[in-house]
């Protein structure tokens, strides 16, 4: 371990070579372009949803068998059905009013697909109340049916009020809103924001998860490549294993950050473009994205956990990569690590549902899982600052241990050739090599 004093500049040279080699590779360029396009497209999903909902229309024919309906019954029903829509140009419901209509031809029109639903309005001869029958192939629990249900009830209410000599206008604008209370911060948010926060947490966790797996594999691949092409022996004379290890982790990490930066730029660009695109396609303002509420504190925590998590895991990837002689074997050699990462990921996905459980709290301090679970806790606001600090300290300690262990395994592993080197063999060799 005499490499500490002389870690640089060789680690810089190696990381520079790794970075350039990686960024210039076809897989990097292609992968970055594809991911950036996907990321940009993903930000336009709210616009797409608006487009779909605005162009999909439910055509309803209403056969009125009842007599003595309120004069504004048709306008009333249409307005209620379309009250949730922001766009006036493409109302979600088109209502065709057939007072005393022909039920047989109306039914035929429904079967032929000229209409999506047939609403029959009749009056109960005894109680004089309105009764409704809906014939449709729309999903019975779908939004359209429940909207028709609500509108029908309102129409019946209006009708009975009219018969009683009063009007519904007074109660129509009643609103009902649910607000979520954060138990630790006490902050009150709308349900929309709550959903948005959970979505954001999941998104950030997926970002870290993807980064560790993808870029960690890069590190392992690059170690195996050097070993496979036997350029390793030339390197071993020129540098120390620690310099190589540091160079590889830094170089591939920087390449990974570059890719992430480009993808993030695409996301930000997409979010900025959302408004103008919405304007251009639909001629109205966006009905709101699901990406709001990016808290700077959460972003900072994400940055810290992202970098430390990557460092921690990529050291382990490098150690495992040094055990194989060919790039084809990297996948199988690193699969234990993959399992561990998956476990952490799923723990955080389930943990988001029960963020205050003890097991979530405990696991969020374990270096293998803290990049996910601590992030989940931070982003949902269920954590005290000292807890985050402690997790970071543990993670740093984990990195130090991983560095020493990885350097040992690495310096022994890179000289061992064969189909597959067992861990015992490596540990044995690690004791005698420098």
């Amino acid at each position: 371990m005499n490499g500490w004093r002389t870690l640089f500049p060789n680690a810089w040279y190696i990381s520079g070579r790794e970075f350039r080699g990686r960024v210039r590779s076809r897989s990097f360029v292609l992968g970055t372009v594809i991911l950036a396009v996907i990321a940009f497209a993903a930000t336009q999903i709210p616009v797409l949803i608006d487009v779909v909902t605005s162009t999909s229309q439910t055509r309803v024919e209403v056969v009125v068998e009842a007599s003595g309906m309120p004069a504004d019954a048709q306008t009333e029903l249409t307005a209620t059905l379309n009250s949730q829509s922001a766009t006036a140009d493409h109302p979600p419901f088109v209502v065709t009013w057939l007072p005393g209509g022909d039920l047989v031809s109306a039914h035929r029109d429904l079967v032929q697909g000229k209409f999506d639903a047939l609403l029959i309005v009749a009056r109960d001869p005894v109680g004089q109340n309105l009764g409704f029958v809906l014939q449709t192939d729309l999903a019975s629990d779908g939004q359209a049916v429940s909207a028709l249900d609500n509108a029908s009830v309102l129409l019946a209410l209006d009708d009975s009020l009219a018969r009683a000599g009063t009007s519904i206008g007074a109660v129509q604008n009643t609103s009902f809103e649910v607000r979520a209370v954060n138990p630790s911060s006490g902050a009150i948010t709308t349900v929309g924001q709550q959903v948005s926060t959970n979505l954001l947490s999941t998104g950030l966790i997926v970002l870290i998860f993807m980064a560790i797996i993808t870029y960690g594999t890069w590190v392992a691949m690059s170690v195996a490549e050097e070993k496979g092409s036997r350029v390793m022996e030339l390197m071993l004379n020129a540098t120390t294993p620690l310099q190589m290890l540091a160079g590889k982790v830094i170089g591939n990490g920087a390449a990974g950050l570059t890719q992430y930066g480009i993808i993030l730029a695409a996301v930000v660009g997409g979010l900025l473009a959302q408004g103008p695109i919405h304007q251009a396609v639909l001629g109205g303002p966006s009905s709101g994205a699901a990406f709001g509420g990016l808290d700077p504190v959460v972003l900072a925590a994400f940055g810290v956990l992202f970098v430390l998590g990557f460092l921690f895991y990529s050291l382990l990837y490098a150690a495992l990569g040094s055990l194989v002689s060919r790039q084809e074997d990297v996948q199988s050699a690193t699969s234990p690590l993959m399992m561990l990462i998956m476990v952490g990921y799923f723990m955080s996905v389930f943990g988001l549902q029960s963020i205050d459980d003890t097991w979530v709290k405990v696991a969020s301090f374990v270096p293998f899982f803290s990049p996910y679970l601590m992030l989940a806790r931070v982003s949902t606001g269920h954590v005290a600052p000292w807890e985050f600090g402690l997790a970071v300290v543990f993670l740093l300690a984990g990195i130090a241990v991983a560095l020493v262990a990885a350097a040992r395994i690495y310096s022994a592993g890179v000289l061992l050739y064969g189909q597959r080197v067992g861990l015992r063999q490596v540990l044995k060799a690690a004791r005698v090599s420098r």
């Binding site: 040279y13 070579r17 050097e226 036997r230 350029v231 390793m232 050739y417 064969g418 090599s433």
Partner: protein, 314 residues
């Protein structure tokens, strides 16, 4: 002022890769490591380079332990050759030199000099994967010397080179020797050793069986060899019948025979004249290194005893 390997032993599990090996290599000397596959040549070099640590014993250069000597002291051409496939020749040579602390501009200038000398200047900006094996080998040699190391350790430098390229490499050896560098290389090719080396060591199963200057090693057998060629008789069957003479090789050009210790090689010449042969060639020499090698090590071992089976390049 020399490279001293002092009682070095190294085991890999049950295999004794090196067993109490001691050698002294003089500065400015060309030194040959001879041995069958798995004799311990590569392990010895890796221990000198401090890539591996010995189980016991030590290595020193100019009185300083090799663990304290600057890495730039050594130039290493590994047996398993490798370059970064996607990097251009100049880029990677400059990269390797930079790791040893050479300024990039100087490294690039010298790289192009050496490429000229090896008659491959046009490959400077090609990627390594586009080069033939022989040319890659020359690049690797340049990588080993670009930082002007004091000691060059080369594992089988001539393997896989055609005669023209082998001659170019020998020229480069000479140049390094003229610059006062110490050259250590391993090989199977005995003629190359006789041509280049001042001193040798023959390794067998991790032990030095013979060592010293080439001349001393050859004289030490006490035997002599005669080479005889006569007109019209390529077999010279009667030679085997002479007392103390044993035919060792029947070549196309001449017959080679061992003369037992204490016998006069002249009896061969007398016998030939007595038979009225027209002698084309008669030569008395020390035994060849190849014969000495075979005497000490036995036939070239065809079974791989290498500890690091090369599954990749095989």
């Amino acid at each position: 002022m020399s490279l001293i390997i002092d009682s070095v032993s190294k085991n890999f599990g049950d295999v004794h890769a090196l067993d109490d090996v001691s050698l002294e290599i003089e500065p400015g000397e060309v030194f040959g490591f001879l041995g069958a596959n798995g004799a311990g040549k590569t392990t010895a070099m890796r221990i000198v380079l401090d890539i591996l640590r010995p189980d016991s014993g030590s290595v020193s250069w100019n009185g300083r332990p090799n663990t304290e000597v600057s890495r730039a002291t050594w130039g290493y051409l590994p047996e398993e050759r490798g370059l970064y496939a996607k990097m251009t020749v100049v880029d990677q040579l400059v990269f390797f030199a930079k790791l040893h602390g050479v300024a990039p501009r100087k490294a690039e200038r010298e790289t192009r000099d050496w490429l000229d000398r090896f008659r491959i200047p046009e490959y400077a900006d090609r990627r390594a994967e586009q080069l033939s094996k022989g040319n890659q080998q020359k690049i690797q040699f340049i990588a080993a010397i670009l930082h002007d190391p004091q000691v060059l350790l080369m594992d089988e430098p001539f393997t896989g080179l055609d005669p023209v390229n082998a001659a170019l490499l020998k020229e480069a050896f000479q140049e390094m020797k003229d610059r006062g560098k110490t050259l250590v290389f391993s090989t199977h090719q005995m003629d190359t050793v006789e041509e280049l080396c001042e001193s040798i060591a023959i390794l067998d199963r991790g032990r030095v069986v013979v060592g010293g200057t080439v001349r001393d090693v050859r004289r030490a057998t006490g035997r002599q060899v005669v080479r005889l060629a006569v007109e019209g008789d390529s077999q010279i069957d009667w030679l085997d019948g002479l007392d103390g003479i044993r035919v060792t090789r029947r070549g196309q050009d001449y017959i080679e025979a061992d003369v037992a210790q204490g016998k006069d090689p002249g009896v061969v010449l007398q016998a030939a004249l007595a038979r009225n042969c027209r002698i084309r060639q008669f030569e008395i020499a020390d035994p060849s290194l190849e014969q000495i090698f075979i005497e000490h090590v036995g036939q070239f071992d065809t079974t791989e005893r290498t500890l690091a089976p090369s599954t990749v390049n095989a």
